[in-house]
């Protein structure tokens, strides 16, 4: 399955980018433009949440990781993978955004 594109913003001047929509680049204060990034990346680091915050009680244990997009910014999101099958360097694909959270799954 091909990864879904991930929408975000990029600064036309200094090329700072983020998945989270803001109006202004925090580094050079230039107005950013909306863009999209190919949703393919690698896990930089991850954890398994076993004691979740309020609202996530039924989902634990679940994996959260920092993901370095191949052609885009570094992001944080949920990884829909069994805890024993995740590792640093694992290639993941963006699948969807739910309630403000990015969701990824392992690339087959």
């Amino acid at each position: 399955m091909n990864p879904v594109n991930l929408s975000g913003v990029v600064c036309p001047k200094c090329h700072w980018s983020d998945f989270f929509k803001v109006q202004t680049c925090p580094l050079c204060l230039t107005a950013v433009i909306n863009t999209s990034f190919p949703g393919r990346g690698r896990i930089v680091t991850y954890t398994v949440i076993r004691y979740p915050p309020s609202g996530f009680e039924r989902e634990a244990p679940y994996v959260v990781g920092i993901i370095d997009l191949d052609d885009g910014p570094t992001v944080i999101g949920r990884v829909r993978v069994e805890p024993e099958k995740v590792d640093i360097g694992l290639t993941v694909h963006f699948s969807r955004e739910t309630a403000g959270a990015l969701e990824f799954e392992p690339a087959e």
Partner: protein, 386 residues
């Protein structure tokens, strides 16, 4: 700016407990009365109260007048200082600046946190308020989880085993045995750490500080004024605060905290001291990995080599760099917003030779590092006996 003008003339600390029946106000008043008695002052010109979660957990804000009036000091200017887990450290920085301004002579600086009596998901949600709500908390990551991601990367990159990382909680629990105010009085081994339940992989229960209630307060005044009250002078050699991005994912290197390095470098520069001058150290070991990074970020070890100091026994109370001498956040306890103030109170006791069973031999310079959020705020203080 020289920081030679501020003295710590009194300290007070409540015991830290997860079964306390005391309210937020009772905790603060207990520590503040102890500090005021200890200093022997009869007037207060200003009061600073550090705290992180009273609004969320106790539905109580406006702690300044709340605490001042409970102490019978209504009328004085009061300020609440919030910087997540560094609230205590940052309150100290603000109090130091108040004395340096010359406008306030006798300043009460304290910090308090009440975390017990709430469900784990509630406290977990409260702690995540130190990170970005809209960018990061939406993923369901917890504060332990963010630190666990740091630990994973740190252990992977520097080939640090969990056995070695566990040396810090073991040392903290050992030191806390001699601290009657510590939350945990229980000797643990490396094997206990490795066998304890996973909280957020790879961090286990004994890698993490617990949930507890406590308050610590110090009394500050100018060094000239201090001579009226005490013969043992402990003065603030440097007080520095630095910040970084609020979110961990936005940083290029998550195995160090830029804010720690910046605050420490500024503190060394201002005090004209170096890491080699530090006789006693208090680091923000909310999670084991943070203690190792602190030893590196504060200039005591090369990157990835912090644990070597522990393995060599240098951080023991009889070592070259006694660290977390009252048990640190891990075993003395971590009532989050108050921990930075416990560190200042403990260093003051060490430097004035009042640390009793926790005393290290004849220290003259101490450093405390207090971290807010995921390294987003760091306060570094250097205290000196004069």
């Amino acid at each position: 700016m020289s920081m030679s003008g501020v003295a710590v003339i009194g300290v007070g600390m409540t015991p830290i407990s997860s079964t306390s029946d005391k309210s937020l106000t009772e905790l603060f008043v207990q520590a503040a009365k102890e500090a005021i008695d200890n200093a022997g002052v009869d007037r207060v010109d200003a009061m600073y109260v550090g705290n992180m979660m009273s609004g969320f957990l106790q539905h109580q804000e406006h702690l300044g007048p709340l605490m001042a009036s409970a102490l019978g000091k209504e009328g004085v200017p009061t300020y609440k200082v919030e910087a997540a887990c560094a609230s205590g450290g940052v309150a100290m920085n603000v109090g130091v600046k108040a004395v340096l301004s010359g406008l306030d002579k006798i300043v009460v600086v304290g910090a308090v946190e009440k975390m017990s009596g709430y469900s784990t998901p509630e406290v977990t949600t409260g702690l995540m308020m130190a990170e970005d709500r809209l960018r990061v908390a939406t993923s369901g990551v917890t504060f332990v989880g963010l630190n666990a991601m740091i630990a994973r990367e740190y252990m992977h990159r520097f080939k640090v085993s969990h056995e070695i990382m566990a040396e810090l909680p073991v040392l903290c629990h050992e030191n806390a045995l001699d601290n009657p105010k510590a939350q945990f009085h229980k000797r643990i081994t490396v094997s206990d750490v490795l066998k304890s339940p996973l909280v957020a992989d790879p961090l286990r229960l004994y890698d993490c500080s617990g949930i507890g209630d406590g308050a610590a307060v110090v009394i500050l005044t100018s060094t000239e004024e201090a001579r009226k009250f005490t013969d043992t002078h402990v003065e603030v050699a440097a007080s520095s605060v630095a910040s970084d991005t609020l979110s961990l994912y936005q940083r290029k290197d998550i195995t160090m905290f830029r804010a720690s390095r910046k605050a420490a470098n500024e503190a060394y520069e201002r005090s004209k001291l170096t890491p080699a001058d530090i006789d006693v150290l208090e680091v923000h070991d909310a999670f084991s990995v943070l203690g190792l990074m602190a030893l590196e970020d504060l200039g005591f070890a090369q990157k990835g080599k912090g644990a070597q100091l522990l393995v060599n026994g240098e951080c023991n109370r009889d070592g070259r760099l006694p660290t977390n001498t009252f048990g640190g956040l891990k075993a003395r306890g971590h009532p989050v917003g108050a921990s930075g103030m416990y560190q200042i109170a403990e260093l003051t006791l060490q430097l004035s030779q009042h640390a009793e069973k926790c005393q290290v031999p004849d220290p003259s310079i101490g450093l405390a590092q207090s971290i807010g959020g995921i390294g987003s705020t760091v306060a570094v203080h250097i205290l000196r006996r004069t």
